[in-house]
Symmetry: D2
Subunit: 340 residues, 4 copies
C-alpha cells in the first residue's frame, strides 16, 4: 500500500469544493499501524470545520471527519496493542488517553482528528497505534464508526462524568446522534428517559427505541410538561444539546443537585440562563469535550455487554460523501455514515 | 425568659421602617433550646430580602438575618446535642443536615433563616436543637457569627464540593465576606490565591491577609493578567461572585477541567458566557446555595485546627443595626457584625 | 388500636424461646405514625442477634427483625411525609437519613431496628415518620419488605458507594438475599455478572435470573475460573459475602483499581488476605453497613422504574415465624418472608 | 557521553555483591533524553528487590533503585516536554501517566524502575521523555529525588485518593520516609496529625516537624490513646505502614466512614483484622501502589507552592551506596539519599 484515495478540500468556506485526491502513505515503522477504513461517521462539527475552519490551523489539502472504523492491515515492529486483522475505531483526541484533559486555559485542547490533525476520510492511514481503540465485536463497521465522537460524548457526559444510576430521570434534547446514544445508554443503566423534540414523528421513533416519555416542544412549555410528568421533581441529568439561551431551560428543568451536560451549540455560541435556579438548586453544569480513550474503551466494552446498536439514519457509499454531508443539514434521526 | 427584644420590619420595600419590638417566647419543651444571641453577622442577601422579599412567604413582623452566635441558656427534656452554657451558631437551612439538598425542581429550597423562617436579630430564641451547630472554641461570638452563611459558602464551594488541594490556583473575586473566607480557607489548604479587585487599597489588605497575587481589574483585562501570572495555565477554581455576564470571564479564566462556583449576583440575575471555553475546557460550573449542617460542623472543626480568624470590617452595637445595614451598601472588606 | 401482638424473646441464646406476646401501643402524637405490618423479611443477622445479642443493649421482651412493609393507619398532627393508606417500609438505621454515618470510632453505629431499637415482628407500631420510606408501587408487601436491609445493602455497595456502570464485571458470592439483589441491580445497570456457588442447582437458578456466568466453587479454584472467563481481567467489583479469610480470594479476583464490598461474616469474624494484590492492584475495600434512608428512597425509585422483583424463596404465615427462622439455617435462595 | 558508571548486582540474594560497572549508552534519538543523575533516594523496597527479586523478571547486571533527580543534558529530535538544562525527576511506573492503573487481575502492574525496568543508580541514562517529571524549583537534587516513590505514595494516599481537608485527623505510623511526607502534606492541608512510634526521641523530632500529637506505642494501646486524644472520634485517615495484622489496629482507629491507606508490609505479607469495625464503621481500605505521573506533577507544583522540604536523614556519596543501603536497615528518620 503506497498511496490512498481520500476526500479533500483546498480551502474552508461555505462553497469549498470537495474532491477525491490521492496521497502517499508513510512507511509502517515504529509503533505505527496501517489501517484500512471501512466506514466513516459524520458529525455536525465536520460541517463547521469545513465551512469556517473554527479557528484551527488546518493543513491543506484538508481531510475532514473524526470518526471511523477499519481493519489493521500491517503493524510496525514496536506495536503491542494490535495485530493485523484487528478491527479498530479512531479516537477523537488522539493524545488524551485518560484522566485530566490536555491544553491550558489560554490554549484549550484542539488537537483532534478532522481538525488540527488530519481527518479520517481516507481509504488508508498510517498512524500511531495509540490513536486507536479496538472496535466492539457486536457491531458492524458502520455502527462502530459512530462511537468515537457521538457515542463517547453521550457516555462521557452520562457515565464517566455523570455517574448515572437506575431510577434517575434524564432529559435528552432532540433526536440527533448524541441524544439517541444518550437514550440508549441511559436505558441500559435503568434510567427513566424523557426526549424533547418538535417533531411528533421523531418522538414516535424515540419511544419505539425505548424512551419512557416524549415531550413535544410545540405543545407548550417543555419544562412544565416535565414538571407534570415528574410531579415537580425535574431531571437528574439534562443533556443540553440545543445551546445558547436554552441553558436557561435546562436550569429550570434540572432537579436539586442535578447535572446539566452542555454539549451543543445549535442555537448559539453564547450560553445564558437565570441565576436563581443555578444558585438555589445547586446543580453541576459541566462542559463536555467528547472524552478520553480509556472511556471509549469502557464504552466499547459496555456495548458488547448490553447489545446496544447505534442508530444510523442512512448509509452512503464513499463516492456519495457530498450527499451524506447534505443529509446533516436536514436533521438526521441518529447518525449518517459513509461506507468505504 | 418570657419575651425577647428583636429588630422587626412590618413590610418589605426600600423604605421599610426598622423598629425594635418585643415578642413572647414559647416554652422550652421537647428538643427545643433557649439560646441567647451574642452576635449577628449581616449578609448582602439580608438587604435583598428586606427590600424585595425575594418572592418568599415572609411572616410579619419580620425578623431579618440568618447568621448568629450565642449561648444555650436552657434545654428541653429531649435535647441530646447541647447543654446550658454551650456556645452555638445558627444554620442557614435548618432542615438540611447532610447529603442531598431539599426541595424539588419546581420549588427549589427556600426554607432558610431570615426568610421563610424567622431571622436571628432577636435577643433570645426557642428553637429545635437541630437548628444549631456548636461554635468554634477559638473564635469570639462576633467571629463565630460569620460562619453560617459566608464562611460555609466559601467552604462548601472550595472544599465540600471543590476538593481543593495544595498547589491549586484559586481566584477570588473581590474582598467581600465570602471572598475573604475563600482566601483564608484556600491558603489553609496550601493553594495559590489570586484576588481581583478594583481597589488598590483593598488588594493591599488582601495581600497582607495571605493572598499570593493581587489583580487590579482597573489595570487591564484581569483574565489576561491571570494568564501571565500562571503562564497560561489559568485557575483550578474560580469563586464567581460578581455574577451576570461575568461568568464569561470566569469561563475564560478557568483551567482545563477546572471548577467555577457561582455564588453571587452583584451584577445581574442572568448569567451568561461563551460556549467555547465551556465545551473545550470542560470545566464544572456549580451553583452554591450555602451548605448543610454537617459541612458547617466540618468547617467549625477546621477553624479550631487551623486558627482561621474571620475578617470583620466593623462591629456595631445592637441599637446600631440600621448603621450596620448601611455599611453593607459601601462594600465592606469582610464582614459586618452586630454585637448584642 | 391499643395493643399489638408480636413475636418476643425473653433472653438471648441458642435455646431462647419464641413466644407471641402482647404490648400496649403509645398514642399517635407529634410526628408519629401508626403502621400496620403486612410482611417481615428475615436476615441472617436476626439469628445472630437472638442467639448472641451481638453485644447490644437489648430490651426484653425483645422483638427481633429489621425489615418490614406495612400500611400507615393513622398519623400524628405534625406528620408531613405520609398520610393514612400510604404503603411504607422500615429503615434499618432510623437515625441515618443521608451523608456521613453516625457514631464514632470508639462506639460504632449500632442503633438499628431489631437490635438497640425494637424489631419489626409486631402487628402494629407507633414510631416517628422519619423511620419509614415509601414502598415501591410495583411490589407487594412481602417483596417490599426485603428492601430495607438486603436490598439496600446490595444497592449501597454497588451503586451509592460503587458507581457501577454498563460493561463492568461483578462477582456475587452465593445466592443469598444480598447476592441475588446484587445480581438484579447489576444487570439493571448493564453489568456482566458472575455468580459463585457450590450448588449446581442454585447456579442454574441464578442463570435463569439473568447472571451471565455461573462459577461452581467445587469445580476448581473459582478465581482461576474467573480469570479464564475474563481473559485475566478480573472483576471490577466483588461482593465479598463469605467473610473471614475469603477476603484473600476477593483480592485475587479484583481488577486493577477495582472494588471489594465486604458484607458478610459467614466464615469468620477475622478478615485476612495477601498484601500483594492489595498493594499492587490498588483496589478499594469498603465495609458496608447497610445504608441511609436517602439511598433506600433511591432504590425504591429504581425498583419502580426497572421492574425489579425481589427473589423470595418462601413465604410463611405470622404463626410460622419459627419455621421461617429455621429456613435461614438451610441457606435460602433469596429471601424468607413472614406475611402478617 | 558514550558510557555510564552504575551500581550493579549480578544476582539477587542476601549476600549479593554490589559493584560499580560500566555500560554503553544508546543514542539520544526520537523522544529520548540524556539525563545526568544528581541524586538517588533509597526505599525499603530497593532492599527487598535486591534480596529476593520479588518475583520480578530482572535483567542482569541489575541496577537498583527507583527515585532520582538529575539534569537533562541532551534531547532527541521529537522531544517536546524538556530542553537541555531542565531539572527532572524519575517516575516510579513510567507507563502510568494518569487515570486507571495498568496490568490486570492475573498480572498486576509491576513495570517499575528498579525492578522490571532498570533502576536509577547510573550516572547517566537515555530514556523516553515520558519517563520524567520536572523537578520542583524550590528543592535541591537530593530533596527532589525523594519524591517519585515516598513523596508520591503519601500524596496519592492522602490527596489524590484521599481528598484530605483542613480539620481532618490523620494517623501516620512511624517516622519513615512515607510517614514524614504524610505528616508534612497533611499539615499543609490544615489537618491534625497524630504520629505513632516506639521511640520517644523520634516522636520529639516529629513534633518539631509539625505533628500535633505524638503517641508512643510503648506507653499503652496506641488506639486507646488516640480515642482519648480525639474524644472517641478516631482518625479520618490512617496511613497503615506497619502491615500484616496491624491492619486490625487501623480498623479500630479509623473514624466512621474514614479511610485507611495500606502502604507497608514491614510486619507481614498477610493483612488481617476484625470484621466488626470494617462492617460497622464502613471505612474505605485502599491499597496504594505509589501513583501516576500526573499526580507526581501535582505534588511538584504543591511543593513549590507550600515550601515543603523533604526530610533527609543522611546524604551519602556515590561510592558510599553500600553504607547508604545499610542505613535503611536501621530505620531512618525520613529518607536516605545518595548524591552523585
Amino acid at each position: 500500500m503506497e498511496t490512498t484515495r481520500e476526500w479533500q478540500i483546498d480551502a474552508v468556506g461555505p462553497d469549498r469544493e470537495l474532491t477525491i485526491g490521492e496521497r502517499r502513505l508513510e512507511p509502517v515503522s515504529g509503533n505505527k499501524v496501517l489501517v484500512r477504513t471501512e466506514a466513516v461517521s459524520l458529525n455536525f462539527r465536520d460541517r463547521l470545520v469545513m465551512e469556517s475552519g473554527m479557528g484551527l490551523p488546518l493543513q491543506f489539502p484538508f481531510v475532514a471527519a473524526s470518526d471511523m472504523a477499519g481493519i489493521v492491515e500491517a503493524v510496525g515492529p514496536e506495536v503491542t496493542r494490535f495485530k493485523p486483522g484487528d478491527r479498530v475505531i479512531s479516537t477523537f483526541s488522539p493524545d488524551w488517553i485518560d484522566g485530566r484533559g490536555l491544553g491550558d486555559a489560554r490554549t484549550p485542547p484542539y488537537k483532534t482528528r478532522g481538525g488540527f490533525y488530519p481527518g479520517v476520510l481516507s481509504q488508508y492511514s498510517v498512524l500511531s497505534e495509540e490513536w486507536y481503540s479496538r472496535a466492539p465485536d457486536t457491531l458492524d463497521a458502520a455502527q462502530a464508526s459512530t462511537l468515537p465522537c457521538a457515542g463517547l460524548t453521550a457516555w462521557f457526559a452520562l457515565i464517566e462524568r455523570g455517574g448515572l444510576k437506575a431510577g434517575d430521570k434524564v432529559v435528552m434534547e432532540g433526536t440527533g446522534g448524541v441524544a439517541l446514544f444518550g437514550l440508549q445508554i441511559a436505558k441500559a443503566h435503568g434510567a427513566e428517559v424523557f426526549i424533547t423534540s418538535g417533531s411528533g414523528e421523531k418522538l414516535e421513533r424515540a419511544l419505539a427505541l425505548g424512551a419512557d416519555h416524549a415531550i413535544n416542544r410545540h405543545e407548550g412549555d417543555w419544562v412544565e410538561q416535565l414538571y407534570q410528568l415528574t410531579d415537580g421533581y425535574g431531571a437528574d441529568h439534562v443533556l443540553e444539546i440545543v445551546g445558547g439561551p436554552h441553558l436557561g431551560e435546562a436550569l429550570r428543568a434540572v432537579a436539586i443537585n442535578g447535572r446539566i451536560s452542555v454539549i451543543g451549540v445549535l442555537e448559539g455560541f453564547e450560553v445564558s440562563g437565570p441565576a436563581g435556579p443555578l444558585l438555589l438548586k445547586a446543580p453541576v453544569v459541566q462542559g463536555i469535550s467528547v472524552g478520553h480513550r480509556r472511556a471509549l474503551e469502557d464504552l466499547v466494552r459496555a456495548i458488547d455487554q448490553i447489545g446496544l446498536k447505534p442508530v444510523i439514519d442512512k448509509r452512503y457509499a464513499f463516492d456519495e460523501f457530498p450527499q451524506a454531508l447534505d443529509h446533516l443539514y436536514r436533521g438526521p434521526f441518529g447518525k449518517v455514515v459513509v461506507e468505504f
